[in-house]
């Protein structure tokens, strides 16, 4: 915490003598800004992918989970009894919001692919379908299946697990890959900033020697480098994040519902990439301070 206070302090302080005394670091400066910008840009994309995959997984999971069906095939005489039994059971099952028998039209629509649009439903031994809308965490499918098998032997519960599992898995996998990328990018950036700071310090060994010789305190020397690298990283990451966000917004969007076409953030999610420059600044501050301390310890 005191580190963060130090950081805020040294950034807020107006440009002082220590800034003029350390030479402009030219290419290392541009390198730092560029690296931060590029990495922030990539991070924004990775974050967008992650967040989108997450959202997608949620949507798929809930869409499919919300509508389970129970199919009742029974000898005509028993159908009504079993349907009533099913509805009663469902009514008593925790996690079921509502259940209703599909209308003839809905059944017809479902069967159309197989029998054409003019299915003679009356003449067919078509099973009765009951749509189950879940609420909250959903119901215990196994328990329900067990109860149904005793109370309505002709009823079969289809909770779409078969479809849901791979889709949800795919989305959460994408999510995992996204976070992996974000973490990799973050670690890489940290390492690069550290190396760039070290390179700048090594290139300025002569300057540091002269400053020590004329009586400069370590704090004075370190501050110039630390301040510079922190500001540069924040600047670079800020630019990269901005361009990244613009690119995410500008990315051509496919049809509304297609998979991955909704790449981007929503609501408070937009704040997520804005943390990138802040995180970058914190990494740069501590990395440069450590590098400066190490370099200075090598001199008298």
């Amino acid at each position: 915490m005191s580190g963060l206070l130090d950081m805020a302090q040294s950034l807020i302080r107006p440009q002082g003598a220590s800034d003029t005394v350390v030479p402009p670091t030219g290419f290392t400066a541009r390198l730092t800004v560029f690296v931060s910008a590029a990495m922030a840009f990539l991070a924004v994309f990775a974050l967008a992918l992650t967040v989108s995959a997450n959202r997608l997984a949620d949507r798929w999971a809930s869409e499919l989970a919300e509508s389970a069906t129970v199919r009742i095939s029974a000898p005509p005489a028993e159908v009504e009894i079993q349907v009533a039994a099913v509805l009663r059971v469902l009514d008593q099952t925790a996690g079921v919001a509502s259940a209703r028998i599909l209308t003839t039209e809905e059944q017809r629509a479902l069967l159309a692919p197989w029998f054409g649009p003019d299915v003679p439903l009356d003449t067919l031994p078509v099973p009765t379908l009951v749509e189950v809308i879940q609420d909250g965490d959903g119901f215990d499918a196994e328990g329900l299946r067990l109860r149904l098998s005793t109370e309505a032997p002709g009823a079969v519960l289809d909770d779409h697990t078969r479809w849901r599992a791979p889709l949800v898995q795919a989305a959460s996998r994408l999510n995992f890959l996204g976070w992996l990328a974000v973490i990799l990018i973050g670690a890489t950036t940290g390492a690069m900033i550290t190396l760039a700071a070290n390179a700048a310090l090594a290139a300025n060994a002569q300057v540091i020697t002269v400053l020590r010789l004329v009586g400069a305190h370590d704090r004075f020397i370190a501050q110039a480098f630390v301040r510079r690298f922190t500001l540069r990283t924040i600047l670079g990451a800020g630019i990269g994040t901005l361009i990244g966000l613009v690119a995410v917004i500008a990315l051509p969007n496919g049809p509304d519902d297609g998979f991955l076409t909704g790449l981007g953030f929503s609501g408070a999610g937009w704040l997520l990439p804005l943390t990138l420059p802040i995180l970058g600044g914190i990494v740069a501050f501590f990395a440069t301070r450590a590098a400066a301390d190490r370099t200075l310890k090598g001199l008298r």
Partner: protein, 222 residues
């Protein structure tokens, strides 16, 4: 101000300087001479804590150099003005800024006397030049100006006249003598025996000589 008690120094295995004892009292003026590579610069580095004696004790303003931490070293250096033999400058700053550097690193600003000082060493028309744009002699004079800008208690000058002509050398010597009269302690390392001779009438100086690893008081032959 500065005392050495039986101090030795070795860069590697072999001792370069051995068993040196000396007291630089306030207001004294010393010359340090000896052949090239004898250890004059090394000796001065012990006095401004760039090097630590390998044995024996060095006290700077009463503080033991062996136990000083990094901030104390920085503090001591603000009280000692050094003209380094290889004139260490920051190439991206102007000469004026370089001369004012000891002030800047303390967060202070240079006053009008900066220009006076630069005029005194004959650099008034090179104020805004960068160090690589100076001639060898100009750089040496700038180094002298930087050494005295803080008005330090002790002035250590390592070959301050190596690259400058005789007339300019005399002027530099005069400045050092003047500073000495103001009560500053001065030590000048030089191989220029003519300079030491020229100083004789102006100041009561002692001449030290490094030879065969030891510090001697040079005789009247100089």
């Amino acid at each position: 101000m500065i005392t050495l008690q039986n101090a030795s120094y070795a860069y590697g295995a072999d001792a370069l300087l051995e068993g040196m004892s000396l007291e630089l009292s306030q207001g004294s003026f010393h010359f340090l001479t000896g052949p090239s590579g004898a250890g004059k610069s090394t000796f001065l580095k012990l006095l401004y804590a760039e090097l630590r004696a390998t044995s024996g004790a060095v006290h700077l303003f009463g503080q033991d150099a062996r136990t000083m931490d990094r901030d104390e070293v920085a503090g001591v250096r603000q009280r000692i003005g050094v003209v380094h033999q290889d004139c260490q400058f920051l190439d991206h700053l102007t000469i004026a800024e370089n001369v004012a550097l000891p002030l800047m690193v303390q967060g202070k600003r240079a006053g009008a006397d900066l220009l006076d000082l630069l005029a005194w060493v004959g650099l008034n028309d090179r104020v805004n030049a960068k160090p690589p744009e100076l001639s060898g002699g100009e750089r040496q004079r700038a180094a002298l100006a930087r050494a005295v800008i803080l008005s330090p208690d002790v002035i250590l000058a390592d070959e301050p006249t190596g690259n400058i002509d005789w007339e300019m050398s005399q002027k530099v010597l005069q400045l050092l003598v003047e500073l000495n009269r103001m009560g500053k302690t001065v030590m000048v390392a030089t191989h220029d025996i003519a300079l030491i001779r020229a100083a004789k009438p102006q100041v009561a100086s002692r001449v030290l000589r490094i030879q065969n690893r030891h510090l001697h008081l040079a005789g009247a032959d100089l």
